[in-house]
Amino acid sequence: MPQPVQYRGMTLIVPDNDSEWTEFYAHARAHRLVVRKCTACGLMRYPPTHACPWCMELEWTWQELSARGTIYSYEIVHHAIQPGFRELTPYPVVLVELDEQRGQPTPDEALRIIGNLVKPDLTPEAEANVAIGRRVRVIFQDLADHMALPQFTLADEPAPARVWRLPE
């Protein structure tokens, strides 16, 4: 088993038999964002899981994505409960709707992924710049030889719809 990764006081464990995450992180370490794609119905899913939630098929392939999307919701953590995050507060957590497979297979569904909104140097983005509707792209944070976390950073693209943030 690869060594557990220490990150901000947390022990991140991906055992060899955890096929859901082992290859996901190997791709992430190579700075590729991948999701599982069903070989039967062609739909993609995140997080990586063993069966297709739409057709129950067990066969899948990894599919690389453009790693671009739009902030669907966010929160700003002021009171960190994990000691390793205290020095980062206030830090934003974003739910990003990826560009691929939006509104499929039903209008309410999409590939959505959670990460921190960070500056290019991986420090937390300023709160004033965090808003629903803003365009983002994935930036990888290397943690170990076999692991990197997909994070998000603001993309210099016009927002496709209404931009909103919590009023001051």
Binding site: E20, S73, E75, I81, V93, D108, A110, I114, N116, I132
Partner: protein
């Protein structure tokens, strides 16, 4: 769908003191709460032959608790679960009795939620290794319940224009109710300004939008209506129950929007269908107020107002004592204490009996003043039907409809 409407009753309720330093084990507290509920029902240890409890590795199991009270069990299960387990276990108790496995079931939850295993996720909970599905969110500093739910709350504000001041009215209402509850941990009434002026925990949640971490044990006793009729208390009948109903993709519900939709969307037809009533027939609601927002989302989803209009509904005064449909008349998790849902069912049972334990001198006899000023009465006049809206996480919840 099959219904057992009015064939089962809640006949006993009991709890320990709500505190932040119980100084006791969960075993000692469970024993006290169960004993109180048995005595409240007018039963003896010999009459109880079933036991259900729920926990998250933070409590004492039934096989240690029952013998302490001299209870011999014909059926018991220890269930892994948190919020919304209360209503689900009431349904399972009915099922166990219906199957002929036992006659009368004690359901308990015991936790040192402040002094031992903090429900807020700090301490021992925050130090647990991260693996499996947790890798999709915990490494990003998203581990506590508030951090888990805030994305849903924020999206609700975006989609429907819900404001912090509107949501704060939930805390204001529950604090008013707690001021009439001698048991409540926080009895002080607060204002909207107090809530929106309190420090940020995780935006859009302020400190006063969050519930209290509490040490306590609670117990409910369920038996058949036939047995209930022989007991000393007025029976409280179970009209309908829905247990741990879930949204699709409950592992990662953000993939299956709208993320502002919560499990009540699916639970409401089950529970109202069994009961044969609608939201307009409910006199009192008990919603799981882990946060102010969770009350608002559930009231919307169960149809007490239109989807998206929860902000107006909770700030209209209707959820306060004296209003059209008071919610969490004990003060709930925001003010009375955090019990993983049990206390809101206990309170509704007392409301239906007409013997809410407020400051009215003859409350136990059912004599109330209905004066809802601080330190007085919290009995709802002629409450006939109550409903509990149990919450675990946005994609999982339970519901219970009771009548007198």
């Amino acid at each position: 769908m099959k219904t057992l409407r009015d064939q089962y009753c809640v006949v006993g309720v009991g709890e320990t003191e709500y505190s932040r330093a119980s100084g006791r084990t969960t075993r000692a507290m469970a024993v006290e709460a169960i004993r109180r509920a048995i005595l409240d029902a007018g039963l003896t240890a010999r009459d109880v032959d079933g036991m259900l409890d729920y926990q998250g590795g933070d409590s004492t199991l039934a096989n240690h608790v029952a013998p302490d009270l001299g209870i011999r069990l014909n059926f018991y299960m220890d269930v892994m679960g948190g919020g919304s387990s209360t209503e689900a276990l009431i349904g399972l108790a009915m099922g166990a009795i219906e199957a002929g496995m036992c006659n009368t079931v004690a359901i308990y939850r015991s936790m040192n939620g402040y002094s031992e295993f903090r429900i807020g996720g700090t301490g021992a909970r925050a130090a647990q290794p991260v693996r499996g599905l947790d890798l999709a969110q915990v490494p990003f500093g998203m581990r506590s319940a508030g951090q888990n739910f805030a994305l849903t709350f924020m999206r609700h504000m975006y989609e429907y224009g819900t404001t912090s001041a509107q949501v704060a009215r939930v805390k204001v209402a529950h604090s008013r109710h707690a001021s009439q509850n001698p048991k409540a941990l926080l009895k002080e009434r607060v204002t909207v300004e107090d809530v929106v002026g309190s420090r940020w925990i995780v935006k859009p949640l302020h400190l006063l939008d969050c519930c209290l971490e509490t040490d306590n044990a609670t117990c409910l006793i369920v038996t058949s209506a036939e047995r209930a009729r022989d007991l000393k208390r007025r029976p409280v009948y179970i009209m309908g129950v829905a247990g741990r109903v879930s949204k699709p993709r409950l592992d990662f519900h953000w993939a299956h929007g709208p993320i502002t939709r919560v499990a009540g969307y699916y639970a409401k037809d089950i529970v109202f269908g069994q009961a044969g009533i609608g939201p307009e027939d409910v006199d009192v609601t008990g919603s799981y107020d882990a946060f102010t927002f969770t009350t608002l989302l559930q009231l919307e989803e169960y149809g007490f107002c239109k989807k998206g209009e929860g902000g107006q509904y909770v700030s209209s005064g209707i959820i306060e004592l004296g209003g059209g449909r008071p919610n969490n008349t004990s003060g709930g998790h925001l003010c009375e204490g955090y019990t993983h849902g049990m206390s809101m069912v206990i309170e509704n049972v007392r409301q239906l009996r007409g013997t809410v334990d407020d400051y009215c001198p003859r409350a136990a006899e059912g004599v109330h003043t209905y004066d809802y000023s601080p330190g007085r009465c919290r009995q709802v006049k002629d409450a006939e039907i109550t409903m509990n809206l149990g919450w675990a996480v946005p994609p999982t919840g339970s519901a219970l409809i009771l009548r007198r």
